[in-house]
Symmetry: C2
Subunit: 220 residues, 2 copies
Amino acid sequence: MTDASGAVTEALPEAGSKRRQIRPKAERRQQLIDATIRCIAQHGLSAVTMQMVTREAGLSVGIANLHFKSKDNLLKETLRFVAEEYHGGQIEIMEGGDILDLGERLDALLDFQLGRGVTQRQKMSVWFAYYGEAGARPVYQKIVSTVDRLAAQKLEALFIQIIREGNYRGVDARELATGYSALIDGLHLGLLVTPRELSKRRARAVARDFLRRAFPQHIR
Amino acid sequence: MTDASGAVTEALPEAGSKRRQIRPKAERRQQLIDATIRCIAQHGLSAVTMQMVTREAGLSVGIANLHFKSKDNLLKETLRFVAEEYHGGQIEIMEGGDILDLGERLDALLDFQLGRGVTQRQKMSVWFAYYGEAGARPVYQKIVSTVDRLAAQKLEALFIQIIREGNYRGVDARELATGYSALIDGLHLGLLVTPRELSKRRARAVARDFLRRAFPQHIR
DNA sequence: ATCAAGAATGAATATTCATTCATTCTGGGT
DNA sequence: ACCCAGAATGAATGAATATTCATTCTTGAT
């Protein structure tokens, strides 16, 4: 294609300029991880290919192997990122220096766990894609266990505080924390697999109900 | 190879006789589905190949395409089988003409859901492998939704009976049923992904606790 | 004994995909 | 202006895999 002056112009200015851009390593890594997340959500973990991911990222095929050694490694790092993002968010709230009231802190946690950011189909698809492979891949189990354990400890600590403050009787913090975590995971699963049967609104109501039953003075 | 009489003998009698066996279609289908389940559990859904499945089943590669049209179809039918087995078991208990006491029936349900048969790594791996792909594959969503909905209705019906019998106040059967189902799913997930942190014994205690909190007269 | 129906086989085919690497390009330093 | 470290590219390669189908084998009926 030529313009009036006869000079050769770039083909499709709007459809992603072909100009090669050099960017720092860290930025490219994140760009590829983000693309991987979108691909897993849209096509499923088992259908993800390197071509797909790099095209989604608007980059060439070779680059993925430049920044991550292999596809396997890219997938592993993607899981690590997602897991840390989720658990990091939870932990921040539970440590929550900014929210002093324990009931409010619980509410904030619930909001985070069943709120917009986390319950995007995109993110949930990624969790469960990895969970599905975890049975066969110890590496995935390890990544998840590591961050999970810390979050579980923080949750238990929060529950202990609440139990003390409310002087609740016959309640075991550890057991309750396990139950609450499992409930949230199960609700995420429901939102992903049977969105028709379970709305976000109802999922929140169910989780809230669980907490109210355990800590009636703190919730509602 | 020939024996003294000069007749051709079978090669390796102990290492799986090579003798070609003709069996009815239904039997071969089940054989292949069982092999698929073992392969998914051991290698993960995304690593399963036709060669792997047919070798596991002790059959030739061609046969899978003879009885199922394609790999895709084999995987779909395997999911259907697993889903129906699980939900069928639940529904049988919940309809449970043989157990008249409602509390006992609840107990039987819990036993089934967190007991030996279901919580084998093998089975749980398969659930979650499919759940992981469900976000990207409407076919899987549909299969699970269909059986799931029926089980959810039966559970709600059971809870309604229990609420009436115990004259429990301020309890919504539907919401409680959703919560209980999600809790069980979450516990399965925990058993699969972080078996170190969550034993079967503790998972049962947690689920039982949930029920006791809701229906104190019926449980314990 | 013989035969036909159809169950089972597995070598061959065509496709898809991860990974490599020779080459090109960019931008900051001199 | 020039240079070059190293970032980026994408055609080429080789390995893996789903699917096909011509052929072989088994079984029950005649």
